[in-house]
Structures are given as C-alpha cells and as structure tokens.
C-alpha cells in the first residue's frame, strides 16, 4: 500500500467512525421473556424471542396468551403484555437526542422512560387511533387509552386533539374521534345507560348535578339518553 492509499484509507475510516458517532444505532434487547413471545423482523417470518435477543427497527413483537416480554431500549423499559402486537418503528440516536417510535396494533404495554445524562428522549407510542408523546414518565398504554403512573403524557386522537394526563390520571377515546380525561380509569354509576355507546355528558354538568345531589329526570348533554343523576362521578370529561 503506498502513502496515498494509506491516507485515503485513514480518511475513509475517520468518516465512517464520525457517521457512526453521530447516527449511533440504539439497541432494543429482550431482558425478560415469559410464555410465548415471537418476533418478525422486516422481510422475515416469525421466530421465537429469547432473553438477550436484539431487535431492529421494523420488527414486530407479538405476545401470546399468558405471555409477557420486557424490552430494554435506550433509557427506557417496555413491558409488552399478553396478546399484544407492537412494531418498533424507530429507534435512533442523534447527538444527545434519542428517538423511539412504537406502533401498538393491539393489546397494551407499560413504558418506563427515564432520560439520563442530559439526554432528550422523544418517545412516541402510536396506535391505529391515538398517539401519545412521553417524556420522563411511566405509563400504561393501550390502543384506545393510557394511564399515567408518573409524569405527564399527552395523547392525541385522529383529530389531533390532545388530552393530557398526569400522575394517577388516564386519557381515553372510544372511536378515536372523541377524547376523555379521567382521574380513574372508569367509574360505574347508579343510573343505567339507555343507549349503549352514546357519548357521555358534558363535563360541567356532571359535576353540578352530582355534587348538589340533584335528582331530576334530565335529558342531558347532547346524548339521546334520559337519566336521573344523584351520584358523584369520578371523572371529568370534555
């Protein structure tokens, strides 16, 4: 090898190393596998998952019945619950920014996101009808709802309407076109819903009717229901 070739080689090696440093490939690795967990890498078939298996973007993770998987990604842990199907859409690191994108087709997951060392983590959980943006939080995310254990999360529906949930709060949608925030996941009322699947009350009304203990035949909100309210609701909605 002559001097010219050696210099070119050094430059080439330097460039490759620089690119690697800037666009560092983040890793997603299985840390726990219980029951039947399978992965389907891009352009490949289903295969079993095992502890220590690293997966790349585009991989679909599927858990069977009575099965769970825990996957470690940069500064975050993802627990995939039973009968869930999730795709790792993005996992990359650019400088001090980590980008994680997940698409939940069915089932639910729990995510713990803990950015460390000044790193910024853009963690996005998506489903067919919602998108949740997570920063430094711990939450449970399903196709139509999420519940926040720590931190603050904004979930957006198909209309790009955002609903924020803080610690101990939840956000859900029924069709992807509505949005409700709740202090608890759900609450059961004394009165019986006449038309199942109808929209719930406007949120102001819920509070007034319940807290004042009103008992009146009311046809409330913009629903087709006739209800009598005399209870205390747990959740607020808009």
């Amino acid at each position: 090898m002559n001097k010219k070739s050696a210099v070119l080689l050094c430059i080439l090696i330097f460039l490759v190393l620089s690119c690697t440093a800037v666009f560092a490939q983040s890793r997603a690795v299985f840390r726990q596998v219980t029951g039947k967990v399978e992965v389907k890498p891009p352009n490949a078939g289903w295969r079993g998952a095992r502890v220590g298996l690293a997966i790349s973007t585009g991989t679909i993770i599927s858990t069977g019945f009575n099965s769970t998987a825990v996957i470690e990604m940069d500064n975050s842990m993802l627990t995939v619950k039973a009968l869930s199907r999730i795709t790792l859409e993005e996992l990359s690191r650019k400088g001090d920014e980590i980008n994680t994108g997940l698409y939940l087709r069915s089932g639910r997951v729990e995510a713990d996101v803990n950015p460390k060392g000044g790193l910024k983590h853009n963690y996005r959980l998506r489903s067919p009808i919602t998108t949740a943006s997570v920063r430094g939080t711990s939450l449970r995310f399903g196709v139509k709802s999420l519940f926040v254990k720590h931190g603050l999360v904004v979930m957006r529906n198909l209309l790009n309407r955002g609903g924020t949930a803080g610690e101990g709060e939840g956000v859900w949608t029924t069709t992807g076109l509505d949005m409700h925030t709740s202090e608890e996941d759900s609450s059961k009322r004394a009165e019986v819903d006449v038309l199942t699947g109808a929209e719930p009350f406007h949120w102001f009304r819920i509070g007034w009717f319940n807290m004042l203990g009103q008992i009146s035949s009311s046809s409330g909100g913009s629903t087709g229901k006739s209800k009598i309210n005399a209870t205390v609701f747990f959740y607020l909605e808009w």
Binding site: G166, E169, A190, G207, G213, S222, G224, I228
Partner: protein
C-alpha cells in the same frame, strides 16, 4: 293514510339500516316527605328505545316513555327521535362535523340555563383545538306534562288548562365555542343562548294596560352570555367555574301600568373537587352557586314592579337539593360533600360499586325577594334560609340495575332566629328511592 305512510317509511328506514338495536328501561322514583304535611310521591317510567345504524357515520335514535305518577296516571313523551351523524375528515388538518336532526336533548355547558328536549338541528364542528356548536330548536311540540320550560305565568297556566296538550312555544338558539386544554390543561368555554317566546298574543297582557291581573302575564324573551373555565390545579385536584349574564325583557307592572322592562341578571358558580383515589376512592368537593334575585318582585314569575328585572331566570327549571328543592333564581348556596366507596377494597364485582356520600348545604337568598319554594318571608332582612344535611347511597350491583337512596333533612332558619323562613316552618325530612332497570 298518513299513519300507513308513516309505518311504511319506518319499515323502509329499518330495512336500510344495517344494524338495529332496541331495548327499554323501567324507572321508579319514590319520595316520602315528613314535616310540612306528610307526602308520598311516586313516579314510574317505562321507556322503549331503538337505535338504527345506517353506517359508521349515521345512526337514528328513537325513544318514547310512558310515565305514571300518583297525581297523573297518563303522561307520555317522545324523548328522542333524531338522526345523528358524525363525519370526520382526516388528513393533514383533520376536522369533524357532527349533526343532530330531529328531537334531542339540548343543554348548555353548565346545565344551569338550558337542559331540555328540543325539535331542531345541532351542528358541531371540531378540530384539533376547538369545538364550535350551533343549535336551534323549538319546544312547542313537547307535551306540557313533561316540559321543564316554564318561564311565565302563561306557561304556568298551561299546566292547569285541560284543553292544552303541548308545551309553551319557544324558539331556542345556542352558539358555543370551547377550547379544550387551551393553556396549562385549562378548558375554556364561551356560549351565547337566545330564547324567543312565540306564544300568540291571545290572553297575554299587552303593554300599556292599566288593570292589574296577577293571574296573567306577558311574553318573555331572554338572552344569555356565558363563560366557563375549568381544569386541573394539580393531579387529583380539579376545579370548574361558570358565569352567565342574562338580558332580555319581561312584563312589569309599575306605577299602575304594564310595560316591558329589560332583564339584567347574572348567575355564577364554581366547584373544587379533590380525588383521594387511594382512600377507598374518596372524593371531597366544595361547591358554590349564586343566581341574582330582585327585591321588587311581587311574584316569583313575571313579578317585576320597579326598574330593571334582576331575577336570573334560566330557560329550563333545575331543582337543587334533596329535602329542600328550590329552583336556581335568587338562590345562593355553599355545599360541601364527601363520598366514599367503602367496599372497594373487597374487589367484589357487585359490592365494590357501593358508594355513599354525605353532604351539607347552606342555602341563602341572593335578595329579599321571592324564591320558588313557599315559606321564605319576602322582605325579611335575613337572607339565610337554612341548612340541609343529606346522605346519598348509590349502588349498581349489575350492569342493568341501579338504585339510589337519598335521605335529606332541611332545617329552616326562621325569622324568629336569624333566618328568612317563616316562623313555625317545620323541619322537613325526605327519603327518596330511585330504581333503574334496563332490558
């Protein structure tokens, strides 16, 4: 011929729907009152409903009820008969249009001004940051026995008239703009409501007449401008506030002559709720409500006798309380409530739903004038009406069965003490039981 055509139309509607669901409910509302004469009241309601799905975006709702009370065994109503559509346009700037056409319930954001069935149209435009709602409806096709829209003496007289079946004819229009999570998780609502009295002149007193007739009245047109704000203070601590300004005109008898005088009244209120999820799903709440009154009124309805009418008159009636049930006009109240699910930790699918609330409400008048309930002394110096402690137990053991037991005691503050209620006003105890079953 008309009925056959209607039946054929219904059949075609049902056939073209690709999914049909139907069912019914049975409700009972029994009330026992002790104190000012013993009362036993009972209302039973049986309702049948149907829902026809035409597509993912279009559904038709119909519901009718038969109501039997001890006072009147023959009350019926069509509670819903409306086509509802939801049309999302998804893409870069997604939005949605919702339509409601037919008979449907219409309410303002607070539920304090309007909550009534109307026959009309509602359109809602929603995008990522706001909802804009426009609605218009007519109340004159509802049966008078079930209406909550009673604003004038003529409306009240209709109830006693046997040859009158329908509710007072009024046209209601609503425009509402809401901004969910507009800033720092706060929700903002702006609303405007208009109500036109379409009653024909007939027996109404005309402006300029000089002979006073307390049994008759005129028409009442009103407008309402409201604002609401609410949201999270910290997780588990929520609040909401509302305020309304009412304008319009109402018949007044002043200086021996009937004239239409302007209405200038207001109502406001607020609530703070604290959820103590880990303490057997407890909720602690504090609530305040104020609706302006007028010292110059000579009767609760259309009683203005001097200057502007300052009594806040909502479009539809709303009753407050358990034992003491005044309507909103000229009322100021403070209420503290605590509710708990005592058996929540058992995780029993039936008993963990049991919920009990205790509540204490202090009632005042906003002015020395009339309130809707009898017993308050008009012109008495004090504004304090009394207190009502209550216990409410709510139980839903199954998906299709629910019941509520409410026990309330109204302790009046009489003029002999520091209050505004007539001397000798009794302590009133009310037990109310409600039962709901769906099939």
């Amino acid at each position: 011929m008309k009925y056959r055509l209607f039946a054929v139309l219904l059949c075609i509607t049902a056939i073209t729907a690709y999914a049909i669901d139907f069912g019914g409910t049975i409700e009972n509302d029994s009330k026992l009152g002790l104190g000012s004469g013993n009362i036993f009241d009972q209302g039973n309601r049986i309702s049948l409903w149907a829902q026809l799905d035409f597509s993912d975006n279009l559904v038709f709702n119909a519901k009718a009820s038969y109501i039997f009370t001890l006072e009147d065994p023959l009350i019926y109503e069509v509670d819903a008969f409306a086509l509802q559509g939801e049309f999302p346009i998804l893409g870069d700037s997604p939005f949605m249009i919702k339509l409601n056409l037919g008979r449907f319930p219409l309410a303002d954001f607070s539920g304090m001004v309007l909550d009534s069935l109307v026959d009309g149209l509602e359109v809602v435009y929603s995008n990522s940051f706001m909802d804009f709602r426009l609605a218009g409806g007519y109340t004159g096709f509802q049966f008078k026995k079930t209406t909550k829209v009673v604003l004038t003496k003529a409306d009240s007289n209709d109830v006693a008239e046997d040859d009158r079946y329908f509710s007072a004819p009024r046209l209601i229009a609503l425009a509402e703009l809401s901004f969910p999570e507009v800033f720092l998780r706060q929700n903002l609502v702006l609303t405007a409501l208009v109500q036109f009295d379409l009653r024909p002149p007939g027996d109404l007193i005309k402006a300029g007449e000089t002979t006073e007739d307390p049994t008759k009245g005129g028409y009442l047109n009103s407008q309402y401008f409201g604002i609401g704000l609410g949201g999270t203070i910290i997780p588990s601590l929520y609040y909401n506030l509302f305020g309304y300004l009412e304008t319009g005109e109402t018949l007044s008898y002043e200086n021996g002559r009937y004239e239409y005088m302007p209405i200038l009244a207001f109502a406001c209120g607020g609530r703070i709720t604290w959820f103590l999820k880990d303490s057997l799903a407890s909720i602690l709440g504090l609530e305040v409500l104020f609706a302006s009154g007028d010292n110059d009124y000579t009767s609760f309805l259309e009683g203005n006798s001097k200057g502007d009418a300052n009594l806040f008159i909502p479009i539809s009636k709303t009753e407050l309380g358990v034992a003491f049930t005044p309507e909103i006009p000229n009322i100021f109240l403070i209420s503290l409530e605590y509710s708990i699910k005592p058996l929540e930790s058992t995780n029993d699918p039936v008993w963990s739903n049991l919920q009990t609330a205790i509540k204490a409400t202090a009632y005042f008048r906003a002015s020395n004038g009339f309130i809707s309930e009898d017993g308050a002394v008009v012109g008495a110096d004090s504004l304090f009406l009394g207190v009502e402690p209550a216990v409410i137990t709510n139980f839903r053991p199954f998906s299709d069965l629910g019941m509520v037991l409410s026990l309330g005691t109204f302790i009046p503050a009489t003029t002999a003490d520091i209050g505004a209620m007539a001397e000798g006003s009794p302590v009133v105890f009310v037990a109310r039981f409600e039962f709901f079953f769906s099939f």
